[in-house]
Each structure stands twice: as C-alpha cells, then as structure tokens.
C-alpha cells in the first residue's frame, strides 16, 4: 500500500481536529477563513488527495456494519452472524447482510455497493468461487481505501486484515484421534471439493492423525462431494465396498445423510460405525441419533470479529501504521449419541 498523506497527518501537523481539516477542505462556513487557508495550503503542498469514503468514515460514522456471507441457509454462517449482531447492537451498531451465494461476482458487487458510504467496515467469509479464482482485488481495494475488514472462517493469506479462524487441521485431528482411541480403524472422510480452504485443512488433520497412529491413509476412503450437492444420495458404492467403522464429515449435513445412509444399509450408529460432523448446529442436536460434532463456536467467532472491527473503526490509528491480528478460536468436540458406545 502506497503511503499517502491523510487527514490525521494534516490535523496533527497543524494542531487542529480531523473534523476541522475535513470541513476546511470542503470549504465549510463553520471554519474561519484563516484556518481554511492554512489547511488548504498545507494539503496542496503535500499533494493531499481526499478519499471521499475515508472522509465520511472518519467524520460521520454510519454506525452500520456490512456482513457478507457465502450462504444464508448454512447454519454456521447464521450463527456467526448472530454473534456479530449481538456485540454490534450492544455497541450501537446496525448490521446489514449481503449474501454472495458462493459467487465471486456477487461478492464483488455486494462489496462495492456497501463500500459506497453505507457502512463503517466489513466482516466477511469468502465465497467458494473467490477461493477457487484466488482473486482478492476487491478486498484489497476496500482495505486500501481505509475501510476496516475482518475475515472469518474462510480467509486468505493474500489480504492483510484482521482474521478470526478455528484451527481446522487441529480440530479434524482431534476428532480422528478420538475415533482411534475408541478403537476405530477404518475411518472414512466425507468432504467437499478441495479448493475450499477449510476442507483442505480438515483433510490435512485427518491424514496427520491417521499417520501419527500408524494407520494407512486409504484414498478410497476419502469421498469428495460438491459443496452444493444436488442429488440426495451418498455414494452407495463407497460404503458398500468398504468396511468402514467410522466416518468424519466436514459438515453436519453430510454427517446426517451419512447416518441415514448407514442405517438404511443395516449398519447401526454408533455400534457398527461412529460418525462425527463439523458445525454443531441444529441438525446435530435434533438428528436421530444425535450427532457428535466439532463445535466451531460460531457465535464466539462472530463476537470476536465484531469486536475486532469496531475497535478498528473507533480507533485513531492511521492506515499504514496498523497491525493485523489473527485470532484462533479453539474448536471443541461435542460428544453425542453418534459416537457413544452403548
């Protein structure tokens, strides 16, 4: 990011408030002619270029936060949203949501729309297509404009900003290790196509746990389903030809379908096959049997993301001086009926 002179610099140099600088540059009647001339001359001297958005942000906060999530039906994202909202509302902020529908274009359009003065900052999880394209220019544009951005869950190293994640590798490792400790040997993984950052990390954790316990990683036990599956079937072939005794699923929908599929094929959960999912949403609690699940603590992630964002919005730190943090929320395994041996 190219270092440029900001309102704050001018204010500091001339010992006036940021608001005064902003008003002076807009030739406001509220500011004395002498002060205006001084500020305008200084700005001209240092080639100050007003950034409309930044000015509006510094001086007239909208008290709105923009949230962009990939999917409104996905329980995890809505849970994070709830955490964001609770914290933001407590601090007097409203929250506006846009949904990218896993589409790169929609993510870009939504960001442009909201960045146009409607909000003080963004909290978002990347769409699947954005991760597939690996194109983050729209995010960089926003951060270059000085608009605070916090990424959660689906993040990228390509953008400098605050982030909140869980350690997906460690979480999957924990779940698989638990299955091994329970005496399971042939552990399958039901995951999504692997351009999704979180799925790759979970697969790494799955592989690492098996290797550490000297169990072979069998590629035929890794089933990759499209993220947005259309058909109602899990691969019958997959389960029919393998003597699987445990399954780790990267989300709770896959897990609930796996349970149903196993039971329809006369395998009992958990006595024949134990199942662990990710997400720990309403499906995990209400499935039958109830689903053991890696809790990602979505609400806590949302709270942390909102706190990070609002702290940045309300801070006086200038662009270029900022430091970015990545907070890691610890995942925990919630044990329910799908792993309890009876």
């Amino acid at each position: 990011m190219k270092r440029k002179i900001t309102l704050k610099h001018i204010a500091r140099e001339l010992d006036v408030s940021i608001s005064t600088v902003s008003k002076a540059l807009k030739n406001s009647e509220e500011i004395s002619r002498e002060t205006k001339e001084k500020i305008q001359a200084f700005a001209k001297l240092y080639n100050y270029k007003p950034n409309n958005i930044a000015i509006s942000l510094k001086n007239k906060r909208t008290k709105n936060i923009g949230v962009i999530i990939p999917d409104i039906v996905h329980h995890f994202f809505t849970t994070v949203f709830r955490g964001i909202e609770k914290y933001a509302n407590d601090k007097g902020y409203n929250v506006i949501v846009c949904v990218s529908d896993e589409s790169f274009d929609k993510e870009v359009i939504n960001m442009e729309m909201l960045a146009n003065g409607s909000i003080d900052g963004f909290i978002m999880a990347l769409s699947a297509e954005t991760q597939l394209k690996n194109d983050y220019n729209h995010l960089k544009q926003v951060t270059d404009q000085g608009i605070p951005l916090v990424l959660f869950d689906r993040v990228t190293d390509e953008v400098n900003c605050d982030k909140v994640i869980i350690d997906d590798q460690a979480a999957a490792h924990m779940a698989v290790s638990k299955m091994i400790a329970d005496g399971r040997q042939r552990i399958a993984l039901v995951t999504t196509e692997d351009y999704l950052n979180v799925s790759s990390k979970r697969e790494e954790g799955y592989r690492k746990a098996l290797e550490e316990h000297n169990l072979p990683v069998r590629e035929e036990l890794i089933l990759r389903l499209p993220y947005q599956y259309e058909d109602e079937k899990l691969s019958e072939v997959f389960f029919a030809t393998q003597e699987v005794d445990a399954v780790l699923c990267v989300n709770e929908i896959f897990a609930v379908r796996t349970i149903r599929f196993l039971e329809d094929n006369d395998l009992r959960v958990p006595s024949d096959v134990s199942v662990i999912g990710f997400t720990d949403g309403i499906l995990s609690r209400l499935s039958n049997p109830t689903l053991s699940s890696v809790a990602q603590h979505g609400e806590e992630m949302g709270t942390i993301a909102a706190k990070m964002l609002i702290d940045k919005v309300e801070s006086d730190i200038e662009e270029g001086e900022e430091e970015y943090r990545t907070e890691v929320v610890e995942a925990t395994l919630i044990e329910r009926e799908s792993t309890r041996s009876s």
Copy 2:
C-alpha cells in the same frame, strides 16, 4: 394518506418527463431557463413539496432491495430470501438483508436506516413483537413516503400494501383432514403462543377440521410453546397423560422434537403416532424418520414478493392511485415417513 401534488402530476400537466421536472426543481443546468421557470412557477402555484426520498427513487434508482426478516436461522425465511434474491438478481437488483430478531425496535431501526435512500423498496415479514404490540406506524411512514413495500407470511390488515401469504388456515385444515382420513382420532396441536398471526390461523384450521369431522376439540391436546423456546424438553406431562395418535406441529423444529420425544417414550412414528410439521425445510428432509410437512413454498413466495416489489418500483403509478394485491400461495402437503403407515 393526504393527496398531494407529485412530480408525475406536474410532468403530465406541462407535458414534460418526470426527470425534467425533477431536474428543473433542482435548478439543473441541463434544463433550459424557460422550461425551468415554467415548472418552478407551476410547482409554487400548487404548493408542491419535494419528498427527497421519492425524488431519488423516481430518478436515481439504487437498484437495491431491502429485506427485513425476523430471524436468520429460521429455514423458512432464508428460503423466501433465496427466492427474492434469484428474481431480483435476474432483474439487476441487489438484495440487502437486515434481521429484526423478533424485536419491534430493531425492525424500526432497520427500516429507518434502509429507508434513508439506500434502497428502492422493502420486502419484509413482521417481527413477533411487532405483531404483539400491534404497532405499524413505521410501516405506514414508509408507504406514506412512497416507498414500495411488500409483506410476506407475517402480514397485517393494518397496512395497505402488497402481500404474499399462504392460506394458513386451509393448510392446517388439509393436514388435519389427512390425519383423520388415515383413521387418527386424538390429534394434538403443538403451536406457539398465539399472538403470531400464522399460528392463530393454523389453530383455526386445526379446530375447523376436527369440528367438521365431529371430533371434539380438546384444549388439553393443544400445547403452546414460546416461539423462542430455551429448554430442550417438550412437555412430558402433556404426552404422558394423553393417548395421542397424531400431532400437528406449526414448525419443523417442534415436529422433529416431537418425534424424538415420542420415540424416547417408546411410541413409534408413524405406527403409534403420526406427525406432520410446517415449513418443509432441511430438517424435514433429513430427520429420521423423515417428516411429512406442509410446504409453504418459501422460494415461490420470495419470487412473487420480489416481482410485486420490482413491478411497483419500476411502474409509473403515483401514490394514491395504487391498488394493492394479496397473493395467496397454495400450500401442499409433502408426505414422508412420519405419516406413511407401513
């Protein structure tokens, strides 16, 4: 609504475009002095008061639609949202969502924020608290400003606007009649507290169907749960003391919990007790046994709502001349395992 002179009236009277009138009233350079003087004189004569929002709407559409839903975790609302979004995106509109969290205040704050020039119109379902308070001034303010509004599902007769609903009474009646046709006699209703319009309508349908078939309505078979329940238990007393052979639930969460409760009490679904829910979301499809459910066709409701709104946004009809429609989406019963007799 007090009849007042609008841009359209001036345009029609002077045989110029609405855009020309608007520009002339803002003294735009684009309009000839002669035309400006004529328009300004006419406006003064008839005491025209510009409504900033209306002007911006007619001349500079934002191409954004504001959606306010009571709850982002509720599958039905997110499904409607998807229908809204698909239609709106096809027509070149973005969709912004705010969540009222069933709170009157949040609904009002969200509306005020979005009505401030960010959007071309609203699509919303009323919060529980708004229905409880029976206060719709914030909606009337918006429609008085000429901002198009479409209500869906949770609607009120107090506000004149377009509406999309299902016939909740008929839907419940259909579900109960089906149970009776299957030979069920002691049919329970698990519903919410009754200030929610949709729940009352469903209860009416339940009562009507029983009466029509000469079955007694037993008040002790009607269980009212808080809309946002906290505890994990269904009333054990309720089921333990009654020989219920069927249960109609006003949402799928209640239904899935009812199934689990019955099974934990050694009653089999559907052979001992059949269960029908409302919503037909992911829980209905993934529960075990799968849940027979009244499909409210959320996506279709969303599509209709978006079409109604965009038609109004893009029409040239002036306030006061408008006619409002209520579209009724026909509910259907999706039969699954929870009612199929084996």
